[in-house]
Amino acid sequence: MIIKNRVKELRAKHHLTQGSLAESVNVTRQTIVALEKGSYTPSLLLAMNIARIFDLQMEEIFFLEEDNQ
């Protein structure tokens, strides 16, 4: 199982740049890049902060998916 997310889609919907989202959740832009690529699984705190920015429940942004590899 892997954790996928809808951060890229939601960021575009809210007209946010990677830099501005990074700044509002207090991480570096590279962390948002890695998060969107799926190569980084955020901490619970970061996931909750991102959910708060998008005004959504955490499970609406982050969800489990079968790992096909």
Partner: protein, 156 residues
């Protein structure tokens, strides 16, 4: 990327420190000869150039490092290596993984590097400070492993 710059500075300081130690090594050889031969007029000669360069470069690096740190505590600025990039949770994770790999690299590098000391009797005349070079291979291995691991994970 700053990790390259920081690692390069660490390597430079290690090399300078090694160079300074070789001149102290020659000085201690002179001192031991002086005690065995009372006819010598000079106790020892010391090339202080490497030491001066080390102090000069080390001071500049420390001042720059301290001025760039967000956490302006002297103790943290001077005691923690600059290679530790920890501006957010992902960098902290990458740093901890790279540190783990650097630690594991020591377990393999130590016996290999220690066994290189077996060659010392054959080259002690040519390179008398050979053990100093060998000893400094340990931190060099550690810092290079750290840099490679950090870089690979950062660019994933």
């Amino acid at each position: 990327m700053s990790i390259y710059r920081n690692v390069l500075i660490s390597v430079l300081l290690l090399v300078l420190f090694g160079w300074a130690l070789t001149s102290f090594y020659y000085a201690s050889v002179d001192i031991s000869k002086y005690f065995n031969d009372s006819s010598r007029s000079v106790m020892f000669e010391l090339n202080i150039l490497p030491l001066i360069i080390l102090i000069f470069v080390g001071s500049i690096v420390s001042i720059i490092s301290f001025s760039k740190k967000k956490n302006k505590l002297w103790s943290k600025s001077l005691l923690l290596p600059d290679e530790f990039e920890e501006s957010d949770e992902r960098e902290k994770e990458i740093t901890s993984r790279a540190t783990r790999r650097a630690y594991v690299s020591m377990m393999y590098a130590t016996p290999i590097i220690a066994s290189l000391l077996l060659f010392y009797p054959f080259i002690s005349e040519t390179i008398p400070y050979y053990p100093i070079i060998i000893f400094f291979l340990l931190p060099l291995t550690q810092v290079v492993t750290y840099m490679v691991s950090w870089n690979v994970q950062y660019n994933k």
